[in-house]
């Protein structure tokens, strides 16, 4: 699923020795993915650039501590996610509900909007407006749930890798992922229900 990994071409030994060529390669192979993750986590391109910057500087300074038990990309995702979440926490600018608390109350999300918009013509589904609705809905998720969703469903990490990147258990990861997915579904279904009613689609 993930195209991030060119692990075989990365020379861990060279990285640990802070070989500049190896590090330049690490940056170029992973920076687009880290940037997109940061962009979707923070919702802001300047912040995303800062996150990428901090991620690779930290990676460079701490590469000796990378033990190679996980993939290099998982390690980078972990640093980047931490940076982005810290930035959001520092900012507390209200765009993102900060909900890092313990996950409780399993079935608390009840789907409310039951409208079958899947059968709409393709050109009615993926419009610019739909894109915007989706992006905004994603920014309405708690940052913790959003991170779980982005790592699993967008970056294509396995449950184990995503849990590792977020430093949570696999079961906690699954709960966050489910909440994120259902909340996005709800937002998109609200939107399509409105459009179908208004435009008679």
């Amino acid at each position: 699923m993930s195209e991030t990994l060119n692990e075989e071409t990365l020379n861990l030994e060279a990285l640990r020795k802070k070989d500049k060529r190896a590090f330049a390669q690490l940056v170029d192979q992973n920076s687009d993915h880290i940037y997109r993750l940061a962009l979707r986590l923070t919702g802001n391109s300047q912040d995303a650039e800062d996150v990428v910057q901090e991620t690779f500087i930290k990676a460079f300074n701490n590469v000796e501590s990378f033990e190679g038990r996980s993939k290099v990309s998982t390690w980078l995702y972990r640093i980047a996610t931490n940076e982005a979440l810290m930035l959001l926490r520092r900012r507390k600018d209200g765009i993102t509900p900060i909900d890092e608390g313990v996950e409780t109350d399993e079935g608390e999300i009840m789907p409310i909007q039951i409208v079958d918009w899947c059968c709409l013509p393709e050109k009615e589904i993926m419009t610019e407006e739909t894109r915007q609705v989706l992006q905004e809905a994603a920014l309405q998720l708690s940052s913790a749930n959003r991170a779980a969703f982005l790592l699993r469903d967008v970056e294509g990490l396995s449950t184990q890798e995503a849990a590792e990147a977020l430093d949570i258990s696999e079961s906690a990861l699954k709960v966050r992922l489910m909440r994120a997915r259902l909340q996005l579904r709800e937002a998109l279904s609200d939107y399509f229900a409105n459009r179908m009613a208004k435009e008679g689609l």
């Binding site: 330049a24 390669q25 940037y35 650039e49 589904i125 967008v154």
Partner: protein, 87 residues
């Protein structure tokens, strides 16, 4: 929503994420599929959930790390920007 087939809508919802990821054992998976057959609401929820994820995935391979930001990063790390990294 309905209450037949030994599995209720809420049971389905509790497992919906694992279901669409194909992580459930055959028995539970079978029960869910039987439930969907007779519960149009759950069917809609599952289909729209899958489609939502798909749509989000489709929308987002376009951005790349900007070149000026790459330049700043390479400078900060004292890396050589002119290395030919293409294979």
């Amino acid at each position: 929503m309905n209450h037949h087939h030994g599995l209720e809508c809420q049971d389905l919802l509790n497992n919906i994420s694992a279901y669409i990821d194909g992580e459930l054992d055959d028995e539970l998976c079978g029960k869910i599929e039987a439930h969907i057959e007779s519960c149009p609401n759950c069917k809609v929820v599952i289909n729209t959930l899958k489609r939502t994820i798909q749509l989000y995935q489709e929308d987002g391979e376009s951005e790349t790390f900007p070149l000026d930001a790459r330049h700043r990063l390479f400078t900060a790390l004292d890396l050589d920007e002119d290395l030919d990294l293409s294979d």
